[in-house]
């Protein structure tokens, strides 16, 4: 009955939602942003810690939400470590595009590899009402990176 749902709820999504690895505030956090999706009540706080050179050293979050939004946050927290803010933005862009359309954007090799780990988030594109679950954490990421024109709500 639900075999085709495995596109959306891949093992990794269920696994990460149940046992997230980055659901905590990093000790040296220097940026914080909140994201919320008023339509479904999902809420998330994201923290970033940066290296002296301005790369992301660590990311962590606290969230209430569905499996997709939790897994998305956890996968993100992993994927952005080591990136410059510009690279993180590019990655966020690609994930948002993926979630909406199911299509992968062309990315520089360094990012392309990380993007691979995020492909399971593309399953939502068939479920318009769930796209925001997958992108909430990425909106918060942009907010934490300090882009003024970006609202921290999906």
């Amino acid at each position: 009955m639900f075999d085709d749902l495995r596109d959306l709820y891949q093992e990794i999504i269920i696994e990460r939602a149940r046992h997230p690895r980055h659901a905590k505030r990093p000790l040296r956090a220097d940026r914080e942003a909140k994201g919320d999706n008023p339509l479904c009540g999902d809420r998330l706080t994201l923290w970033l810690a940066h290296t002296p050179e301005g790369r992301i050293a660590e990311a962590g979050f606290e969230a209430k939400g569905c499996a997709i939004s939790l897994a998305s946050a956890d996968l993100m927290a992993e994927a952005v470590v080591g990136l410059t803010p510009e690279e993180a933005e590019m990655l966020a862009d690609a994930v948002q595009h993926l979630a909406r359309t199911g299509e992968a954007k062309e990315l520089p090799p360094a990012l392309a590899e990380r993007f691979e780990t995020l492909l399971p988030l593309g399953g939502v594109h068939e479920f318009p009402s769930r796209v925001k679950c997958a992108t909430l954490a990425w909106h918060a990421l942009r907010a934490a990176l300090g882009r003024k024109d970006e609202e921290a709500s999906a």
């Binding site: 009540g41 569905c66 679950c133």
Partner: protein, 420 residues
Amino acid sequence: MSLRPERKRAAPVVTEEMVARWRADFPILATEVRGRPLVYLDSAASAQKPRAVIAAMVTAMERHYANVHRGIHWLSERATEAYEGARARVARFINAPAAEEVVFTRNSTEALNLVAHSFTALMAPGEAVVISEMEHHSNLVPWQMQRDARGIELRIARVNETGEIDLDDLEAKLADGKVKLVAITHMSNVLGTCTPAARIAALAHAAGAAVLFDGSQAIVHRPVDVQAIGADFYAFTGHKLYGPSGIGVLWARREWLERMPPFLGGGEMIATVSFERATWAPPPYKFEAGTPPIVEAVGLAAAIDYLEGIGYEAILAHEAALVDHALRRLSAIPGLTLWGRAQERGGVVSFTLEGVHPHDLSTLLDRAGIAVRAGNHCAEPLMQKLGVPGTTRASFGLYTTHEEIETLAEALERVREFFA
């Protein structure tokens, strides 16, 4: 009005064939969703429309459409007859003493905002309104807004563990005589609870307060007699009653419609206008500014005709059987919690499944062709009280079948496995 007594004294038997015939009246029910037959268990959010409603709207647009009132020509007279005929039809439906007490609005929400605005205009700062813990946002937020604008007090009557209004608490909140209005749902859209309207009205009146019922859900599931329950105001919405979107109803006792100042200003609602000031038309027009939902009123009247053609006795009996079936079947699923255990209830069942977020649950059910609603159901404070982020809600209409409840239950069992 209670379900159980109805059923005891030989409720009509609703056979599968009868339900099949009703279903045939709803074109959308033949839809396939993601390759499976649609199982529509989201009627409490909005009900599907029978062919009779759609046809009435088409006829209204193809045969006798024009703006209503003031029009001195044949088409306008026909459209006015149809529109005012719909008002009279609504009045008969809820046993209102007069058609002029029926105000057409955009939806329940607008009806509730109208009362919140125009009734509190008659109140003095420090006087109070009581609502309950299980109100829909539409019967909470408008009162908060008026509380802040006018300095009145908003009191919240408790809901007990079974999901029923705590009448002792309500009485206590009425005791100081400051309360001018009790505004309470006639049926919870989350818990399914039907509230004891006549008793609430009696308590309110004894304390010198008027009483409003939010009948958005109740009227879909049971006959409503506004005089018998002793209401001062009764609000409901067309789209949940198998009628069109874009129309709601506020019934109010004439005395209140006369005393309250108008809500929106504009065409149709005035008696005279100069550049300096305006005077108001008599009710209901005073509260119907601008061109009303003409075609929608005709559709709503057709929905009422359709419903009464089937008869509330049959609908009550069918829905009671569906609810019994669903409660029995779902409560047997391990890890599933049912919310709301009121004695008196309509065709709404809320639940959570351990370890599965309501949104994920909804998506999984959708994959099986099953439409349910997940989230806080516009009742966020109630969710906070229950201590859940949200629930999944299956809600039934007259076209819901026992087979569909089985499909839901089986799907829920599969979801558990899927997430195990």
